[in-house]
Protein backbone atom coordinates (compact mmCIF):
# COMPACT_ATOMS: atom_id res chain seq x y z
CA UNK A 1 0.00 0.00 0.00
CA UNK A 2 2.65 2.47 1.04
CA UNK A 3 4.49 2.62 -2.22
CA UNK A 4 1.27 3.15 -4.11
CA UNK A 5 0.28 6.10 -1.99
CA UNK A 6 3.69 7.65 -1.57
CA UNK A 7 2.65 11.17 -2.38
CA UNK A 8 -0.42 10.99 -0.27
CA UNK A 9 1.66 9.84 2.65
CA UNK A 10 3.88 12.91 2.57
CA UNK A 11 1.01 15.28 2.11
CA UNK A 12 -0.83 13.71 4.99
CA UNK A 13 2.18 13.95 7.23
CA UNK A 14 2.53 17.65 6.73
CA UNK A 15 -1.06 18.40 7.55
CA UNK A 16 -1.07 16.07 10.51
CA UNK A 17 1.90 17.85 12.01
CA UNK A 18 0.15 21.17 11.76
CA UNK A 19 -2.90 19.96 13.60
CA UNK A 20 -1.58 17.59 16.19
CA UNK A 21 1.89 16.52 17.17
CA UNK A 22 0.89 12.96 18.07
CA UNK A 23 0.20 10.73 15.13
CA UNK A 24 -2.87 8.61 15.36
CA UNK A 25 -2.81 4.90 14.92
CA UNK A 26 -5.85 3.75 13.03
CA UNK A 27 -6.39 0.26 11.72
CA UNK A 28 -8.52 -0.37 8.66
CA UNK A 29 -9.81 -3.82 7.83
CA UNK A 30 -10.62 -3.75 4.13
CA UNK A 31 -12.25 -6.44 2.11
CA UNK A 32 -10.13 -7.60 -0.75
CA UNK A 33 -12.68 -7.18 -3.50
CA UNK A 34 -14.22 -3.73 -3.06
CA UNK A 35 -12.75 -1.53 -0.37
CA UNK A 36 -9.13 -2.54 -0.88
CA UNK A 37 -9.53 -1.94 -4.59
CA UNK A 38 -11.21 1.38 -3.82
CA UNK A 39 -8.28 2.41 -1.64
CA UNK A 40 -5.93 1.31 -4.39
CA UNK A 41 -7.78 3.48 -6.85
CA UNK A 42 -7.50 6.43 -4.49
CA UNK A 43 -3.77 5.79 -4.45
CA UNK A 44 -3.19 5.52 -8.17
CA UNK A 45 -5.46 8.51 -8.71
CA UNK A 46 -3.21 10.46 -6.36
CA UNK A 47 -6.03 11.49 -4.13
CA UNK A 48 -4.96 12.95 -0.85
CA UNK A 49 -6.05 11.50 2.44
CA UNK A 50 -4.50 11.21 5.90
CA UNK A 51 -1.79 8.61 6.18
CA UNK A 52 -2.64 7.59 9.71
CA UNK A 53 -4.57 4.54 8.64
CA UNK A 54 -2.84 1.16 8.44
CA UNK A 55 -4.60 -1.21 6.17
CA UNK A 56 -5.14 -4.90 6.75
CA UNK A 57 -6.55 -6.67 3.76
CA UNK A 58 -9.05 -9.43 4.52
CA UNK A 59 -10.96 -11.65 2.12
CA UNK A 60 -14.34 -10.24 3.11
CA UNK A 61 -15.81 -7.92 5.72
CA UNK A 62 -17.70 -11.00 6.87
CA UNK A 63 -14.34 -12.31 8.03
CA UNK A 64 -13.98 -9.60 10.65
CA UNK A 65 -14.37 -11.14 14.05
CA UNK A 66 -15.09 -8.46 16.65
CA UNK A 67 -12.14 -9.90 18.55
CA UNK A 68 -9.88 -8.45 15.87
CA UNK A 69 -11.32 -4.99 16.45
CA UNK A 70 -10.97 -5.28 20.20
CA UNK A 71 -7.43 -6.55 19.86
CA UNK A 72 -6.57 -3.40 17.94
CA UNK A 73 -8.02 -1.20 20.68
CA UNK A 74 -6.32 -3.22 23.38
CA UNK A 75 -2.97 -2.94 21.66
CA UNK A 76 -3.26 0.82 21.40
CA UNK A 77 -5.13 1.68 18.20
CA UNK A 78 -6.88 5.05 18.40
CA UNK A 79 -9.52 4.04 15.90
CA UNK A 80 -10.67 1.13 13.78
CA UNK A 81 -12.42 1.01 10.44
CA UNK A 82 -14.17 -1.95 8.88
CA UNK A 83 -14.91 -1.48 5.21
CA UNK A 84 -16.61 -3.83 2.77
CA UNK A 85 -18.62 -3.97 -0.43
CA UNK A 86 -21.97 -2.28 -0.80
CA UNK A 87 -24.93 -4.54 -0.02
CA UNK A 88 -25.56 -6.68 -3.05
CA UNK A 89 -21.98 -6.39 -4.28
CA UNK A 90 -20.29 -8.85 -1.94
CA UNK A 91 -17.97 -11.20 -3.77
CA UNK A 92 -19.31 -13.95 -1.55
CA UNK A 93 -22.93 -12.78 -1.99
CA UNK A 94 -23.68 -11.93 1.62
CA UNK A 95 -20.57 -11.69 3.80
CA UNK A 96 -20.98 -7.95 4.19
CA UNK A 97 -24.55 -8.40 5.40
CA UNK A 98 -23.39 -10.61 8.24
CA UNK A 99 -20.74 -8.03 9.00
CA UNK A 100 -23.39 -5.30 9.12
CA UNK A 101 -25.22 -7.06 11.94
CA UNK A 102 -22.08 -7.93 13.85
CA UNK A 103 -20.59 -4.49 13.68
CA UNK A 104 -23.84 -2.92 14.82
CA UNK A 105 -23.78 -5.03 17.97
CA UNK A 106 -20.10 -4.39 18.51
CA UNK A 107 -20.43 -0.65 18.03
CA UNK A 108 -23.42 -0.49 20.35
CA UNK A 109 -21.56 -2.37 23.07
CA UNK A 110 -18.48 -0.18 22.70
CA UNK A 111 -20.61 2.89 23.10
CA UNK A 112 -22.49 1.37 26.04
CA UNK A 113 -19.21 0.87 27.88
CA UNK A 114 -18.36 4.50 27.30
CA UNK A 115 -15.90 4.01 24.46
CA UNK A 116 -16.39 6.93 22.10
CA UNK A 117 -18.19 5.42 19.12
CA UNK A 118 -16.46 7.84 16.79
CA UNK A 119 -13.43 5.65 17.16
CA UNK A 120 -15.10 2.82 15.33
CA UNK A 121 -16.34 3.29 11.78
CA UNK A 122 -17.81 1.03 9.18
CA UNK A 123 -18.11 1.92 5.53
CA UNK A 124 -19.13 0.51 2.18
CA UNK A 125 -16.56 1.44 -0.43
CA UNK A 126 -16.65 -0.09 -3.90
CA UNK A 127 -13.71 -0.63 -6.24
CA UNK A 128 -14.70 2.45 -8.21
CA UNK A 129 -15.08 4.73 -5.21
CA UNK A 130 -11.57 6.06 -4.79
CA UNK A 131 -12.91 9.42 -3.78
CA UNK A 132 -15.30 7.91 -1.27
CA UNK A 133 -12.38 6.05 0.24
CA UNK A 134 -10.40 9.24 0.66
CA UNK A 135 -13.45 10.97 2.18
CA UNK A 136 -14.10 8.06 4.49
CA UNK A 137 -10.57 8.11 5.85
CA UNK A 138 -10.66 11.86 6.24
CA UNK A 139 -13.88 11.82 8.23
CA UNK A 140 -12.63 8.88 10.27
CA UNK A 141 -9.43 10.67 11.19
CA UNK A 142 -11.35 13.81 12.05
CA UNK A 143 -13.70 11.84 14.23
CA UNK A 144 -10.93 10.02 16.03
CA UNK A 145 -9.09 13.27 16.54
CA UNK A 146 -12.23 14.87 17.95
CA UNK A 147 -12.76 11.89 20.25
CA UNK A 148 -9.15 12.17 21.33
CA UNK A 149 -9.52 15.87 22.07
CA UNK A 150 -12.63 15.34 24.14
CA UNK A 151 -11.27 12.39 26.06
CA UNK A 152 -10.53 13.15 29.66
CA UNK A 153 -6.90 13.60 30.47
CA UNK A 154 -5.29 10.57 32.03
CA UNK A 155 -8.00 8.16 30.87
CA UNK A 156 -6.44 5.62 28.55
CA UNK A 157 -8.24 4.92 25.30
CA UNK A 158 -8.89 1.30 26.32
Amino acid sequence: MSEKTGDVRQAGEASAKERNPRKLKIVGFLCNWCSYAGADLAGVSRMQYPEEIRIIRVPCSGRINPLLVLKCFQEGADGVLVSGCHPGDCHYQEGNLYARRRMLVLRSMLSYFGIDERRFHMSWVSASEGKKWADTVRSLVEDVRAAQAEAEAGVPMW
Binding site: P66, L67, L70, R100, M103, R107, Y112, G114, I115
Partner: protein
Protein backbone atom coordinates in the same frame (compact mmCIF):
# COMPACT_ATOMS: atom_id res chain seq x y z
CA UNK B 1 -49.38 -37.10 33.08
CA UNK B 2 -49.81 -33.40 33.66
CA UNK B 3 -49.78 -32.33 37.27
CA UNK B 4 -51.87 -29.32 38.01
CA UNK B 5 -52.16 -27.33 41.16
CA UNK B 6 -54.29 -24.37 42.02
CA UNK B 7 -53.03 -20.86 41.65
CA UNK B 8 -50.50 -19.96 44.30
CA UNK B 9 -51.98 -18.20 47.28
CA UNK B 10 -49.51 -19.42 49.81
CA UNK B 11 -46.15 -19.85 48.20
CA UNK B 12 -44.87 -22.02 51.02
CA UNK B 13 -47.61 -24.62 50.80
CA UNK B 14 -47.67 -24.66 47.07
CA UNK B 15 -43.93 -25.12 46.67
CA UNK B 16 -44.14 -27.91 49.23
CA UNK B 17 -46.81 -29.66 47.21
CA UNK B 18 -44.84 -29.12 44.03
CA UNK B 19 -41.77 -30.66 45.61
CA UNK B 20 -43.79 -33.71 46.53
CA UNK B 21 -45.05 -34.08 42.97
CA UNK B 22 -41.52 -33.69 41.72
CA UNK B 23 -40.21 -36.45 43.96
CA UNK B 24 -42.99 -38.74 42.84
CA UNK B 25 -42.31 -38.09 39.18
CA UNK B 26 -38.56 -38.51 39.57
CA UNK B 27 -38.99 -41.72 41.51
CA UNK B 28 -41.19 -43.14 38.78
CA UNK B 29 -38.93 -42.07 35.95
CA UNK B 30 -35.90 -43.61 37.59
CA UNK B 31 -37.67 -46.74 38.78
CA UNK B 32 -39.07 -47.40 35.31
CA UNK B 33 -35.64 -46.63 33.89
CA UNK B 34 -37.24 -44.09 31.64
CA UNK B 35 -34.26 -41.91 32.52
CA UNK B 36 -30.90 -42.59 34.13
CA UNK B 37 -30.48 -39.20 35.71
CA UNK B 38 -32.73 -36.52 37.11
CA UNK B 39 -31.22 -33.07 37.43
CA UNK B 40 -33.14 -31.14 40.04
CA UNK B 41 -32.76 -29.15 43.22
CA UNK B 42 -31.68 -30.40 46.60
CA UNK B 43 -30.69 -28.99 49.95
CA UNK B 44 -27.16 -28.70 51.29
CA UNK B 45 -26.36 -29.61 54.90
CA UNK B 46 -26.20 -25.87 55.59
CA UNK B 47 -29.76 -25.57 54.36
CA UNK B 48 -29.04 -23.92 51.03
CA UNK B 49 -30.65 -24.90 47.78
CA UNK B 50 -28.17 -26.73 45.53
CA UNK B 51 -28.27 -28.49 42.18
CA UNK B 52 -28.89 -32.17 42.78
CA UNK B 53 -28.12 -35.07 40.48
CA UNK B 54 -30.31 -38.07 41.22
CA UNK B 55 -29.46 -41.43 39.69
CA UNK B 56 -31.38 -43.83 41.91
CA UNK B 57 -35.10 -43.86 42.55
CA UNK B 58 -34.56 -44.08 46.30
CA UNK B 59 -32.57 -40.84 46.26
CA UNK B 60 -35.37 -38.86 44.63
CA UNK B 61 -36.82 -38.00 48.04
CA UNK B 62 -34.01 -35.48 48.42
CA UNK B 63 -35.45 -33.31 45.63
CA UNK B 64 -36.59 -29.89 46.74
CA UNK B 65 -38.40 -26.90 45.40
CA UNK B 66 -38.40 -23.55 47.15
CA UNK B 67 -37.84 -19.84 46.63
CA UNK B 68 -34.07 -20.20 46.53
CA UNK B 69 -33.92 -22.66 43.65
CA UNK B 70 -32.35 -20.15 41.33
CA UNK B 71 -29.98 -22.48 39.50
CA UNK B 72 -30.52 -22.89 35.81
CA UNK B 73 -30.02 -26.62 35.58
CA UNK B 74 -29.94 -26.50 31.79
CA UNK B 75 -26.28 -25.65 32.34
CA UNK B 76 -25.53 -29.28 33.14
CA UNK B 77 -27.03 -30.62 29.92
CA UNK B 78 -23.89 -29.69 28.01
CA UNK B 79 -21.47 -30.90 30.66
CA UNK B 80 -20.22 -34.30 29.49
CA UNK B 81 -19.05 -35.12 32.99
CA UNK B 82 -22.65 -34.85 34.16
CA UNK B 83 -24.79 -36.18 31.36
CA UNK B 84 -22.28 -38.39 29.57
CA UNK B 85 -21.55 -38.33 25.90
CA UNK B 86 -18.76 -39.81 23.86
CA UNK B 87 -16.03 -38.06 25.78
CA UNK B 88 -17.48 -38.24 29.24
CA UNK B 89 -15.72 -40.19 31.88
CA UNK B 90 -17.23 -39.87 35.28
CA UNK B 91 -15.14 -39.23 38.31
CA UNK B 92 -13.97 -42.75 38.77
CA UNK B 93 -17.41 -43.71 40.03
CA UNK B 94 -18.38 -45.41 36.83
CA UNK B 95 -21.73 -43.71 37.01
CA UNK B 96 -20.85 -41.20 34.30
CA UNK B 97 -23.86 -40.45 32.18
CA UNK B 98 -22.70 -42.63 29.33
CA UNK B 99 -23.26 -45.64 31.50
CA UNK B 100 -26.52 -44.46 33.06
CA UNK B 101 -29.38 -46.87 32.70
CA UNK B 102 -30.97 -45.46 29.64
CA UNK B 103 -28.70 -42.56 28.81
CA UNK B 104 -31.77 -40.35 29.05
CA UNK B 105 -31.88 -37.39 31.35
CA UNK B 106 -34.73 -35.62 33.06
CA UNK B 107 -34.20 -31.98 33.88
CA UNK B 108 -36.22 -29.68 36.08
CA UNK B 109 -36.69 -26.25 34.53
CA UNK B 110 -38.42 -23.06 35.46
CA UNK B 111 -39.88 -20.98 32.68
CA UNK B 112 -36.81 -18.78 32.49
CA UNK B 113 -34.52 -21.83 32.38
CA UNK B 114 -36.62 -23.40 29.66
CA UNK B 115 -35.77 -20.54 27.33
CA UNK B 116 -32.10 -21.47 27.60
CA UNK B 117 -32.97 -25.04 26.70
CA UNK B 118 -34.75 -23.81 23.59
CA UNK B 119 -31.60 -22.00 22.52
CA UNK B 120 -29.53 -25.14 23.09
CA UNK B 121 -32.05 -27.05 20.98
CA UNK B 122 -31.84 -24.52 18.19
CA UNK B 123 -28.06 -24.79 18.28
CA UNK B 124 -28.14 -28.59 18.23
CA UNK B 125 -26.43 -28.88 21.57
CA UNK B 126 -28.97 -31.25 23.08
CA UNK B 127 -30.97 -34.09 21.66
CA UNK B 128 -34.45 -33.18 22.78
CA UNK B 129 -35.70 -36.75 22.41
CA UNK B 130 -33.19 -37.89 25.01
CA UNK B 131 -34.53 -35.40 27.53
CA UNK B 132 -37.51 -35.44 29.79
CA UNK B 133 -38.25 -31.82 30.53
CA UNK B 134 -40.11 -31.23 33.78
CA UNK B 135 -41.43 -27.67 33.78
CA UNK B 136 -42.06 -25.92 37.06
CA UNK B 137 -44.48 -23.11 37.52
CA UNK B 138 -42.59 -20.58 39.53
CA UNK B 139 -44.09 -18.12 41.97
CA UNK B 140 -40.96 -15.98 41.86
CA UNK B 141 -37.68 -16.47 43.69
CA UNK B 142 -35.89 -14.54 46.37
CA UNK B 143 -32.28 -14.00 47.35
CA UNK B 144 -30.82 -15.08 50.68
CA UNK B 145 -32.19 -12.00 52.37
CA UNK B 146 -35.68 -12.77 51.12
CA UNK B 147 -35.79 -9.99 48.52
CA UNK B 148 -37.36 -10.89 45.18
CA UNK B 149 -34.77 -11.47 42.46
CA UNK B 150 -34.63 -8.63 39.98
CA UNK B 151 -35.27 -10.97 37.07
CA UNK B 152 -38.42 -12.26 38.78
CA UNK B 153 -39.89 -8.80 39.22
CA UNK B 154 -40.26 -8.41 35.47
CA UNK B 155 -41.12 -12.00 34.66
CA UNK B 156 -44.07 -12.25 32.23
CA UNK B 157 -46.82 -14.88 32.74
CA UNK B 158 -45.73 -17.09 29.87
CA UNK B 159 -42.40 -17.40 31.57
CA UNK B 160 -43.41 -18.05 35.16
CA UNK B 161 -45.75 -20.69 33.80
CA UNK B 162 -43.55 -22.59 31.37
CA UNK B 163 -45.11 -23.26 28.00
CA UNK B 164 -46.63 -26.70 28.26
CA UNK B 165 -46.14 -27.60 24.63
CA UNK B 166 -42.39 -27.35 25.14
CA UNK B 167 -42.20 -29.48 28.29
CA UNK B 168 -42.89 -33.14 28.77
CA UNK B 169 -44.70 -32.40 31.98
CA UNK B 170 -45.46 -29.34 34.02
CA UNK B 171 -45.63 -29.39 37.77
CA UNK B 172 -47.30 -27.02 40.16
CA UNK B 173 -48.95 -24.57 37.84
CA UNK B 174 -50.34 -22.36 36.75
CA UNK B 175 -49.39 -19.58 39.13
CA UNK B 176 -50.45 -16.00 38.93
CA UNK B 177 -48.69 -13.29 40.78
CA UNK B 178 -50.40 -10.23 42.09
CA UNK B 179 -49.51 -7.28 39.97
CA UNK B 180 -47.12 -9.19 37.83
CA UNK B 181 -49.60 -9.77 35.00
CA UNK B 182 -49.81 -6.12 34.14
CA UNK B 183 -46.22 -5.39 35.05
CA UNK B 184 -45.17 -8.36 33.04
CA UNK B 185 -47.14 -7.10 30.09
CA UNK B 186 -45.42 -3.76 30.31
CA UNK B 187 -42.14 -5.50 30.60
CA UNK B 188 -42.89 -7.38 27.43
CA UNK B 189 -43.71 -4.23 25.55
CA UNK B 190 -40.64 -2.44 26.65
CA UNK B 191 -38.21 -4.58 28.44
CA UNK B 192 -35.16 -2.43 28.72
CA UNK B 193 -35.69 0.35 31.23
CA UNK B 194 -32.54 -0.66 33.10
CA UNK B 195 -30.53 -0.39 29.91
CA UNK B 196 -32.14 2.91 28.93
CA UNK B 197 -31.02 4.38 32.22
CA UNK B 198 -27.40 3.71 31.40
CA UNK B 199 -27.76 4.82 27.79
CA UNK B 200 -29.07 8.12 29.06
CA UNK B 201 -25.74 8.81 30.73
CA UNK B 202 -22.99 10.66 28.90
CA UNK B 203 -20.23 8.54 27.35
CA UNK B 204 -17.83 9.70 30.02
CA UNK B 205 -20.29 8.76 32.75
CA UNK B 206 -20.83 5.37 31.20
CA UNK B 207 -17.11 4.85 31.08
CA UNK B 208 -16.73 5.67 34.76
CA UNK B 209 -19.65 3.45 35.68
CA UNK B 210 -18.46 0.38 33.82
CA UNK B 211 -14.79 0.87 34.56
CA UNK B 212 -15.75 0.87 38.23
CA UNK B 213 -17.32 -2.52 37.79
CA UNK B 214 -14.51 -3.82 35.61
CA UNK B 215 -11.97 -2.79 38.22
CA UNK B 216 -13.68 -5.23 40.56
CA UNK B 217 -13.86 -8.17 38.20
CA UNK B 218 -11.60 -11.01 39.31
CA UNK B 219 -11.86 -12.91 36.04
CA UNK B 220 -12.98 -15.96 37.96
CA UNK B 221 -15.12 -16.83 34.93
CA UNK B 222 -18.04 -17.82 37.14
CA UNK B 223 -20.35 -15.81 34.84
CA UNK B 224 -19.15 -17.79 31.87
CA UNK B 225 -19.05 -21.15 33.58
CA UNK B 226 -22.51 -20.86 35.11
CA UNK B 227 -24.04 -19.78 31.81
CA UNK B 228 -26.17 -22.49 30.18
CA UNK B 229 -25.27 -21.11 26.77
CA UNK B 230 -21.49 -20.90 27.22
CA UNK B 231 -20.81 -24.44 26.15
CA UNK B 232 -17.87 -24.00 23.79
CA UNK B 233 -15.27 -26.75 24.16
CA UNK B 234 -12.54 -24.21 23.87
CA UNK B 235 -13.52 -20.73 24.94
CA UNK B 236 -11.81 -17.80 23.20
CA UNK B 237 -10.64 -16.63 26.60
CA UNK B 238 -8.80 -19.91 27.14
CA UNK B 239 -7.00 -19.85 23.83
CA UNK B 240 -3.30 -19.29 24.06
CA UNK B 241 -2.50 -18.89 20.43
CA UNK B 242 -3.59 -16.28 19.74
CA UNK B 243 -4.25 -14.93 23.18
CA UNK B 244 -7.13 -12.58 22.47
CA UNK B 245 -7.52 -11.18 25.94
CA UNK B 246 -5.01 -11.28 28.76
CA UNK B 247 -6.19 -13.49 31.64
CA UNK B 248 -4.70 -11.00 34.09
CA UNK B 249 -7.49 -8.94 35.60
CA UNK B 250 -7.22 -5.26 34.72
CA UNK B 251 -9.82 -2.72 33.69
CA UNK B 252 -8.66 -2.98 30.08
CA UNK B 253 -8.65 -6.76 29.80
CA UNK B 254 -11.85 -7.04 31.83
CA UNK B 255 -13.61 -4.62 29.50
CA UNK B 256 -12.61 -6.77 26.54
CA UNK B 257 -13.75 -9.87 28.37
CA UNK B 258 -17.18 -8.51 29.22
CA UNK B 259 -17.67 -7.04 25.79
CA UNK B 260 -16.89 -10.27 24.02
CA UNK B 261 -18.91 -12.29 26.47
CA UNK B 262 -21.93 -10.07 25.81
CA UNK B 263 -21.31 -10.18 22.08
CA UNK B 264 -21.20 -13.96 22.05
CA UNK B 265 -24.50 -13.99 23.92
CA UNK B 266 -26.18 -11.39 21.71
CA UNK B 267 -29.36 -12.88 20.33
CA UNK B 268 -28.84 -15.96 22.48
CA UNK B 269 -28.99 -14.77 26.09
CA UNK B 270 -32.39 -15.51 27.61
CA UNK B 271 -31.79 -13.38 30.70
CA UNK B 272 -31.93 -16.23 33.20
CA UNK B 273 -29.73 -14.07 35.40
CA UNK B 274 -27.39 -16.82 36.51
CA UNK B 275 -24.25 -14.85 35.63
CA UNK B 276 -25.30 -11.94 37.76
CA UNK B 277 -26.23 -14.23 40.63
CA UNK B 278 -22.90 -16.06 40.45
CA UNK B 279 -20.74 -12.95 40.27
CA UNK B 280 -18.93 -12.69 43.60
CA UNK B 281 -18.27 -8.97 43.20
CA UNK B 282 -21.72 -7.82 42.20
CA UNK B 283 -21.19 -6.76 38.58
CA UNK B 284 -24.64 -6.10 37.05
CA UNK B 285 -24.09 -8.55 34.23
CA UNK B 286 -27.74 -8.63 33.22
CA UNK B 287 -27.46 -5.00 32.27
CA UNK B 288 -24.64 -5.89 29.91
CA UNK B 289 -26.38 -8.84 28.33
CA UNK B 290 -29.63 -6.96 28.09
CA UNK B 291 -27.98 -4.14 26.19
CA UNK B 292 -26.98 -6.64 23.53
CA UNK B 293 -30.48 -8.11 23.65
CA UNK B 294 -31.92 -4.65 23.14
CA UNK B 295 -29.79 -4.02 20.08
CA UNK B 296 -30.84 -7.36 18.66
CA UNK B 297 -34.49 -6.77 19.43
CA UNK B 298 -34.62 -3.26 18.05
CA UNK B 299 -32.32 -3.86 15.12
CA UNK B 300 -33.22 -7.37 14.07
CA UNK B 301 -36.66 -7.82 15.74
CA UNK B 302 -35.53 -10.93 17.49
CA UNK B 303 -35.93 -12.19 21.03
CA UNK B 304 -34.02 -15.28 22.14
CA UNK B 305 -35.50 -18.33 23.77
CA UNK B 306 -38.96 -18.33 22.25
CA UNK B 307 -38.62 -20.85 19.47
CA UNK B 308 -36.53 -24.02 19.47
CA UNK B 309 -36.12 -23.67 15.71
CA UNK B 310 -35.00 -20.04 15.59
CA UNK B 311 -31.38 -19.33 14.77
CA UNK B 312 -29.39 -16.58 16.41
CA UNK B 313 -29.78 -13.35 14.44
CA UNK B 314 -26.02 -13.03 14.29
CA UNK B 315 -25.77 -16.03 12.00
CA UNK B 316 -28.17 -14.38 9.59
CA UNK B 317 -29.13 -11.05 8.05
CA UNK B 318 -32.02 -9.24 6.47
CA UNK B 319 -32.04 -6.76 3.62
CA UNK B 320 -33.67 -4.14 5.78
CA UNK B 321 -31.10 -4.39 8.60
CA UNK B 322 -30.17 -1.02 10.06
CA UNK B 323 -27.14 0.59 8.50
CA UNK B 324 -27.38 4.24 9.47
CA UNK B 325 -24.05 3.84 11.23
CA UNK B 326 -22.32 2.80 8.02
CA UNK B 327 -20.78 5.42 5.76
Amino acid sequence: MKQSGKAAQDIGNDTGKTAMSLRKIATELLAKKAVGLVIGYGRSPLGDAVPLLVRRAEDAQALQWNQHCTYNLVRYLTDPEVVGGPEARGGGDGSGGAKSDSGKVAVVVKGCDLKALLVLQSENQVQRERLTVIGLSCPGLTDEQGRPLSKCRDCPPDVHNPREELCDLVVGGPVSRSGSETEGQQARDHDFRDVDEIEALSPAERRVLWDGYFARCLRCYACRNVCPLCYCKECVFDQHDPRWVSPAASVASNRSFHLIRAYHLAGRCVDCGECERACPVGIPLRRINRKAAKVVEEGFHFRAGLDPQAKSPLVGFADEDPQEFIE
